[in-house]
């Protein structure tokens, strides 16, 4: 029980720190969202309409009071689930805006991440088991190289080849003319729009899992319990899966939870490149527009997401690894 309590205590403390950081980071920086928005609207080759800037400032409402009182107000609002109004989509609520992007990202990113984790772990485990085989070298060398490609660059390449040159896939967006919902036309569009971004994300993400799994597995293969399992005359499959892979999986599981944090980061570039209507693109937009409320909430969302994923992974770790349940830390 202690183990779980500790985890939860840590979770709450970190959550508080993250919330505070999310509050501070945007606020400590200079910049005027109103001016920026008017400028964007007009384009750079236009004179700033001062009246419009003033109106915009009045509209967005500038923060007032000391930082301290703002902080309490912010915490109070958070406690009520009030995240404010987005500047970019004013007067829509930040939560509405995020609600729109969330599904797209969840579907795209979650699918690719889970898929690549599974694929990566399987490939890595198999490569370790067949260590030094041709399969192993192809997988390690190949995945190292592919893993170093920048997702953004892959996106460009894919766009060029499959969207522009071959025209097999659309170049941007999440769907086009169909009505979102459970209808065939929409699903068809959504899938074909998601295909290239998914591939761009899929190409690079499994690599970490492959190499990580391979390394831990190789290390585990040297353990005595593997030798004993072999001495017991158990079939290879049992030894590989139940003894080696089962043990090697543990660090990967926590690694996976932590990686969920980097996820939105990777998605920013890819979603932007494909103009995909997910949270990554929203995040990019929020930064570009100095949309503090949106940015703040997105960061809060992702950090809490990671924290929760982490907590789950930790608890899961406790289930998967009986040793952790007893250990103090």
């Amino acid at each position: 029980m202690k183990y779980f309590l500790r985890k939860i205590g840590f979770f709450l403390l970190t959550l508080w720190a993250v919330v505070t950081l999310n509050f501070l980071i945007p606020r400590l920086q200079p910049g005027d969202p109103a001016e920026l928005m008017v400028q964007k609207l007009a384009g750079k080759n236009a004179q700033l309409n001062l009246a419009q800037v003033r109106a915009m400032r009045a509209m967005l409402g500038t923060p007032h009071g000391s930082l301290w009182s703002q902080y309490w107000e912010y915490l109070g609002h958070l406690a009520h689930g009030d995240f404010g109004l987005s500047y970019t989509y004013f007067p829509y609520k930040v939560t509405d805006v995020i609600g729109q992007g969330l599904w797209w990202t969840l579907v795209l990113v979650a699918c690719t991440q889970i898929l690549s984790f599974v694929v990566g772990v399987i490939l890595g485990a198999y490569a370790a088991w067949r260590r030094n085989s041709r399969f192993d070298s192809i997988v390690t060398l190949g995945s190292t190289f592919v893993g170093t490609l920048q997702p953004f660059w892959i996106a460009l390449l894919l766009l060029y080849v499959f969207a522009y040159s071959l025209g097999w896939f659309p170049t941007s967006g999440g769907y086009s003319s169909s009505t979102p919902g459970w209808n065939l036309a929409f699903i068809d569009e959504a899938v074909s729009h998601a295909f290239l971004p998914a591939v761009a994300l899929m190409i690079v993400t499994p690599i970490g899992w492959i190499l990580g799994m391979r390394n831990t597995m190789i290390m585990n293969l040297g353990e005595d319990y593997i030798r004993l399992a072999k001495a017991k005359g158990l079939p290879d499959r049992t030894v590989a899966l139940r003894y080696a892979a089962r043990n090697a999986l543990l660090p990967s599981v926590t690694g996976f939870a932590l990686a969920l944090g980097g996820l939105l980061g990777g998605a920013i570039l890819v979603e932007t490149a494909f103009d995909y209507p997910g949270l990554g693109r929203l995040m990019g937009e929020a930064v570009a527009n100095k949309d503090y409320p949106l940015l703040q909430t997105l960061m809060l969302l992702t950090t809490t997401g990671v924290l929760i994923a982490n907590l789950i992974a930790d608890l899961l770790y406790g289930v998967l690894d009986p040793r952790a349940r007893r250990a103090e830390r």
Partner: protein, 313 residues
């Protein structure tokens, strides 16, 4: 936190792998000396390829002014030229020489890799070492907490936020930003490592020899962590190079310097694909991948140091 990354916490347990020596001669002794780190790294074919490739890149970076046919920022050529004798790989839309930009771009990547890696490793080392050595005290709790927060905050958005809001974007800033957003994982690994080392008898023995805490941490314990430090340096450097390119692609790079990332950004912004300037778009990405791959290969060699299980590959 019990979660752990992929870095195996096990120490390179050199002492125990070593055969006991006969009363013996120096010659016999040398046969049993653990291999020097460089020969271990060099012994891996992948690492060899990596070291040579990185070496070539370093040479290119150092001698860029001699190798490059032109000044990378010289925009006096006709724009949009195909490859030719003067412009080996053609020119950009601004009339700059693509080949020279690629050659000079190596510099930024390597500098960012080197210093970003050093800085991140340095921060990780100090925080990880102190927190590990002080395990169980409030100091450790505080540092662990900071590390965990840093680990949880999504890196790229944070970098974007930091860079977007700072007024100048020199390479120094980029290095700094990359370093302070990427030290946490390594710090955690080092903490785990030092905890295993801290309980070794030789640390207690050093106390009995009258050594002070700092000396114990940095003179007694740290020399035993070289392989981990080396591995985390290569890892951090690799990450930094990628991050610099990522930032540049988002338009958050240092635009006063030519780097592969800024080339990618510029070429994309100028619609290079649409204009058929493929070399300009795709070459920087490819070089970036080759450099990072080479560094990963070096890291395979470094892994052998910390994980002898891998040595018989």
């Amino acid at each position: 936190m019990t979660t752990s990354g992929f870095t195996p916490p096990g120490a390179p347990d050199q002492a125990k792998n070593i055969e006991v020596d006969p009363e013996g001669t120096a010659k016999e002794a040398s046969a049993e000396r653990p291999e020097a780190w460089y020969s271990v790294i060099w012994s891996s074919k992948k690492a060899r390829v990596g070291v040579i490739t990185v070496g070539i890149f370093i040479l290119i970076a150092v001698f860029a002014p001699l190798i490059a046919p032109h000044d990378p920022t010289d925009s006096s050529f006709a724009p949009l030229m195909g490859p030719s004798g003067t412009n080996w790989l053609g020119t950009t839309t601004n009339g700059q020489d693509v080949a020279s930009q690629l050659i000079f771009g190596t510099r930024v990547s390597l500098i960012v890799g080197l210093f970003g890696g050093l800085l991140a490793t340095g921060i990780a080392l100090i925080i990880g070492m102190i927190s590990g050595y002080a395990e169980g005290t409030w100091l450790d709790d505080v540092l662990t907490f900071v590390t965990n927060v840093a680990l949880v905050i999504p890196v790229l958005p944070l970098i974007i936020t930091l860079v977007a809001y700072s007024s100048t974007r020199g390479v120094t800033l980029i290095i700094f930003v990359i370093a302070i957003t990427s030290w946490a994982g390594a710090a955690r690994a080092k903490r785990a490592q030092i905890i295993t080392l801290r309980n070794r008898d030789f640390v207690t023995a050093a106390k009995f020899s009258g050594e002070g805490t700092l000396r114990i941490v940095f003179r007694e314990i740290m020399p035993n962590m070289t392989s981990l430090v080396a591995a985390s340096f290569v890892g951090a450097a690799t990450g930094a190079i990628g991050a610099e390119a990522g930032l540049a692609v988002l338009g958050l790079g240092d635009n006063n310097q030519v780097s592969w990332g800024t080339m990618l950004y510029q070429s994309n912004a100028q619609g290079a694909i649409a204009q058929g300037l493929f070399i300009w778009v795709f070459a920087p990405g490819l070089l970036l991948a080759i450099l990072i791959t080479a560094m990963c290969f070096v890291n395979f060699g470094v892994d052998l140091l910390s994980n002898p299980h891998l040595r018989e590959d």
